[in-house]
């Protein structure tokens, strides 16, 4: 009986100690960057920053190439039609401070050791005709011939509807960085090397030239 009472007393004391609402109320709570990521980004960019439908963020080269300001701008203002604007001033859910926290968190956790791809970000204009031969040399094996005759192993990137949906920037990022998360050979190093700056510009210009002028949905 004495022991039972002692146990009860201990339990009671433990219960008194416990204040379940010691943390601030949810409205004032500061959400960590990964909490923000899981709520607002993981749907497209993948649960752990990779293997999502959109470009992986767990990509040191990408994060190293993209400046912090540019990253914040893209999160806040959106990009193309498929990357929404998350800044509250643009109708999104996040404050400027939260966006900065998110950007810094991603750069810190996933950008470590990244080597910038070292090309001017807003790329120089390329030549579509030169791009066609770059495409044939470096892209065709996986993505198929541009005329649709030889299907590739990984699906067409010269498909008109794909090109309508992918923004110029998205095409350029895809050429530069690939999707390393999807497996070897998808890391933006066709035939074992990164493309030269001019080659990238040319092949992007080639892809853009394949995009039908009408019915562009990037409105």
């Amino acid at each position: 009986m004495k022991r039972l009472l002692a146990t009860l007393a201990t339990l009671f004391a433990a219960a008194c100690d416990r204040v379940p609402l010691e943390q601030p109320m949810p409205s004032q709570a500061v959400v960590s960057w990964d909490g923000l990521y899981l709520t607002h980004c993981a749907g497209c960019h993948g649960a752990d920053g990779s293997l999502g439908a959109a470009r992986p963020m767990r990509d040191p080269a990408y994060l190293a190439t993209l400046s912090r300001d540019e990253l914040i701008r893209v999160i806040g203002r959106g990009q193309g039609r498929l990357m929404p604007a998350f800044d509250q001033s643009a109708g999104g859910p996040l404050t400027a401070e939260e966006i900065a926290r998110l950007a810094d968190g991603m750069r810190q956790a996933w950008g470590a050791g990244g080597v910038p791809v070292g090309m001017p970000w807003s790329g120089s204009a390329g030549a579509a005709e030169a791009g066609a031969s770059v495409y044939a040399a470096h892209c065709q094996a996986c993505h198929g011939a541009a005329d649709g005759r030889a299907p590739g192993t990984h699906g067409s990137v010269t498909d008109a509807n794909y090109l309508r949906l992918a923004s110029d920037q998205a095409l350029r990022s895809a050429v530069l960085f690939g999707r390393a998360d999807l497996g070897a050979g998808c890391d933006g190093r066709p035939n074992g090397r990164r493309l030269q700056s001019q080659e990238v510009a040319d092949v992007v210009a080639f892809l853009i030239s394949r995009r039908p002028a009408t019915g562009r949905s990037d409105r």
Binding site: V19, A42, G43, C44, L82, G155, N161, Y162, L165
Partner: protein, 502 residues
Amino acid sequence: MLRGLRAILGWTEDRSGAIGFVAPILTHRVPRNAKWWYVFGSATLMFFSIQLVSGVLLATLYAPSAADAYQSLVYIDTQVPMGWMLRAIHGWSSNAMVIMVVVHMLQVFLHGAFKFPRELTWMVGVLLLFCTLALAFTGQIMRWDQDAYWGLGIGASIVDRVPVIGNQLRNIMLGGPYIGGATLSRFFALHVFVLPGLTIALVGLHIALILKNGVSEMPKPGEVVDPATYRRDYESRTHRTGVPFWPDAAQRDMIFCGLALIMVVGLAAFYGPFGPNGNPDPTVIDANPRPDSAFLWIFAALALLPAQVETFLLLAAPPVIVLGLLAVPLISNRGERAPTRRPVSVLVMLVICTALAALTWLGVTSPWSPVMDAWTSVPTPVRLVERLTPLQMQGALVMQNQQCRNCHALDGTGGQRGPDLGDVGSRLSWDQLVRQVQQGGGNMPAYGKTLSAAETVAVVAFLQACRTDGQPPSSIPGALQRSASPDLPPVASPVAAPAAAP
């Protein structure tokens, strides 16, 4: 010393007659076989007493003004010593009281204890049930958080549907044309003065009726209730074989009540108080209002009622339920009491209980509610991402971007309102997918005006790729096949099937 005490007692008894009044009540004879089945009424009363005491204490700390209520709850939870425990006990004990009152009622119904001469006891009990539910509902409003605000909004919308005078009734309920300080004050008065007072009076009446008519015996098959002879038989039986309530029957009540109380206090200590969940700010539209557990079944019913009969049922159901329950002893106040001899009654009871339990479960999971942040927080399954072509990948992005995931799951993750699309590619053909996306239907909005042709092609191409491993895409044997092809609108002339290609 002892003699002095006895003298004081004797004097008090002589002037007041208190013991002479209480003793017969405590020792009234109850049937010998009134065993563990009979503890639930006492437990309800005990939890009501807990509510009274903890409620009075909370009233000393709570600020019943719309401007301060929320902050005063936060203050009680965080600053007042043991304040959170007080709120937790009040909340958990309220749930326990609702459960006990329902169990008590089921037991009385199951054993036919509402029959002659205890009809009135049942009716007062029904009123007590609704008092308890009203206390629970108004108690949720005292929390004055988002759930309370929008719960009131739902209540106001229901009242507003009353023909002709709905709007006036709604304004009376809210104390004005919007939910505000006057509303909280009204519900505070109800929760703290009107309903507890009414409940105390009805509990007194309930107990007086029990004392007048005696506690019912356990039903025996074949032992029928006949109003002409029942009272005489009951009295002679209890006189012969009955036991005094105190202490013979009361000891079981005490054991059960003690255990139930320890459990409730334990739950309160472990799980803490309910809410408050978010400031009651009407301009915060990210709210996800949910009612307390006792009302989840109503919440579910409101989502599932067909629109054509919704208003009628909303307004007709409450009086029908109240009158129906009140009328139970009028429908049948004689005859068999044993559940084995009352199959229809027992069946009706089981059906109602099952329905309520199922609705409550649906209310917990609320599959009809869109998951508001699923489109940005629930990833496309990796299994699918790994096999997609660039176009299908864009389609997967369109799927997320267009908030499809708020209502549609892929491989079990995402909203539950619409069907899981993880294997839709083997269920619907290209044309069917295009039609469904563009025209909607079956409770899905039409996306025809929102999506461009390219987006439609991409999302349909993605949906066609949503198949379990090894399954071919859905198709009609022998028919021309459509699929994603360069530069074609989603329903362009069909592409010849591979076999027929040149």
